[in-house]
């Protein structure tokens, strides 16, 4: 995107609000919607990836050591990963200022 969307004037709006760049949703960081965030206890994680399968926002990634972690720029704190985790290694904790 040439400039952030909140700087678009009405003249900058593409015809019919068409989005001409494919896949630019990643530029829009939605992680600040969450009130809870997942914290992983890697000592209990078996690297099964079930959290990665269930995450509805595709916000979970695999790090270099093979553990699955949430990208907090996009994680909305729904808690599905914690609920589905086989070993219970994911805990949801309150977001604090």
């Amino acid at each position: 995107m040439a400039k952030p969307i909140d700087q678009f004037t009405w003249k900058d709006i593409p015809l019919g609000c068409v989005v001409v760049e494919a896949g630019n949703a990643h530029e829009y960081k939605t992680g600040d919607w969450k009130s809870q965030r997942p914290v992983v206890d890697t000592s209990k994680c078996i690297k099964c990836g079930v959290c990665w399968v269930f995450c509805p926002d595709a916000a979970i990634y695999k790090n270099e050591e093979g553990y699955f972690l949430a990208n907090l720029d996009y994680c909305k704190g729904c808690g599905i990963c914690a609920r589905e985790c086989w070993t219970g290694c994911i805990k949801m904790v309150e977001e604090e200022k």
């Binding site: 909140d6 009405w10 593409p14």
Partner: protein, 392 residues
């Protein structure tokens, strides 16, 4: 180039105009009194006379949704409906306007239920007046034919790209046989180039159409849409001018009849203009300085032309064929009043509502409106609106 004079039902003429415009995709659901338009188009496609996709759908909501898809991939797209059908399309009317998809629609104007009525008035289009389409009214079969062809050129112009409704009165226009000049295919091809969209859905170049707009951008999007509809005015005049040069038939946002020296004017939209002309002739014979204004272009609303048309008028009588229930009364009159509010010199405006749900309006009713308006013009307090031909 000459064009052929024929006698033809106006619905068939509308369908023939769509064929001459080489529409590529048509989706419509039959509804009285639009049925003959769609039936004839489906025959033309089935007989191989028109090379188009004809999609029979199960509802008007689906009809316009299909049109959104075909227009988005770059096909010249047409639909037609009436009354309840337009109401069922209501949601998608706004969607395609916001997405700037240049669909053309013939709207055979009909009253809204309840009580159920298949007959003509303007309730349907007035309930959709803010949908963001270009909206044009027609008075006779020739105008329906001409405006249908012009509509594609207006809608698809890269400076416009706004869907367009051609209003024709149900039955009083749609079902009558009239003499009219048909344009030749060569003539229409010369006038109307193939549709060349700015954006189209295509797998080779993925884009997103109809995405959501966050609060940071929605207002800007609506402003750009509003400016685009206002700016379409210049293109509409240009297209009508070009058609006029080609055919000798000229169109204006406001047509006038015997307005020279008029102190009183009637204002109508649609097919009752011809009846009102008869009334104006009779009143002129009796020495009343009356003329007729026929508003053709409803959206974009031609503010300047309306203000200009009021020069020298003492009384303006506006006929509405729809009712804003519990509100100002007539939608056309209320907009004209609003357009003149800032003017220091403006005529006394008398609002009449009549001709609802197929109630006929003979010339005598128009004469009566003028007589009543002349009596009312010095009254301090006027009703929001008056009626003609309603018992009791």
């Amino acid at each position: 180039m000459t064009d052929k004079r024929v006698g033809m039902e106006v619905s068939i003429a509308a369908a023939e105009a769509v064929k001459l415009a080489r529409a590529e995709a048509i989706a419509a659901y039959p509804i009285t009194p639009q049925t003959h338009i769609v039936e004839h188009l489906s025959e033309l496609v089935a007989d191989g006379e028109l090379d188009a996709e004809f999609v029979p759908v199960e509802s008007e909501h689906s009809a316009l949704s299909v049109c959104a898809g075909t227009s988005a991939v770059g096909a010249r797209t047409y639909t037609s409906t009436s009354s309840q059908g337009l109401e069922l399309m209501h949601e998608i009317l706004f969607v395609v306007a916001g997405m700037r998809l240049p669909i053309v629609m013939s709207l055979a104007n009909r009253a809204l239920s309840a009580p159920l009525s298949i007959w003509n008035d303007h309730s349907d289009v007035m309930a959709a007046r803010d949908c963001g389409w270009v909206q044009i009214f027609t008075e006779n079969g020739q105008e329906v034919f001409d405006q249908t062809i012009c509509a594609f050129k207006i809608a698809e112009d890269p400076r416009v790209l706004i869907p367009t409704i051609i209003n024709l009165d149900g039955f009083t226009l749609s079902h009558v046989v009239e003499p009219l000049f048909m344009a030749s295919q060569e003539m229409v091809d010369q006038f109307l180039p193939p549709y060349n969209p700015v954006y189209r859905l295509h797998p080779d170049k993925p884009i997103t159409m109809g995405a959501f707009g966050m609060p940071e951008v929605y207002s800007e999007a609506k402003k750009s849409q509003d400016i685009a509809l206002r700016d379409s005015y210049a293109v509409i005049l240009e297209v009508w001018g070009e058609w006029g040069k080609l055919t000798g038939r000229n169109y204006h946002p406001m047509e006038t009849y015997r307005m020279e020296g008029a102190k009183v004017a009637l204002l109508t939209m649609g097919s009752f203009g011809e009846v009102a002309m008869e009334a104006v002739d009779r009143l002129r014979d009796k020495g009343i300085d009356v003329g007729l204004l026929k508003l053709r272009l409803w959206r974009p609303f031609p503010f300047d032309v309306i203000r200009e048309s009021m020069k020298g008028l003492e009384v303006l009588v506006v006929l509405d064929r729809a009712i804003s229930t519990g509100g100002i009364g007539g939608p056309v009159c209320s907009e004209i009043k609003a357009a003149l509010y800032q003017q220091t010199k403006r005529p006394k405006i008398i609002s009449f509502i009549a001709g609802l749900g197929g109630r006929d309006l003979p010339p005598e009713h128009f004469e009566e409106m003028v007589h009543q308006a002349l009596k009312l013009k010095n009254k301090k307090k006027l009703e929001e609106f008056y009626t003609i031909g309603i018992r009791g």
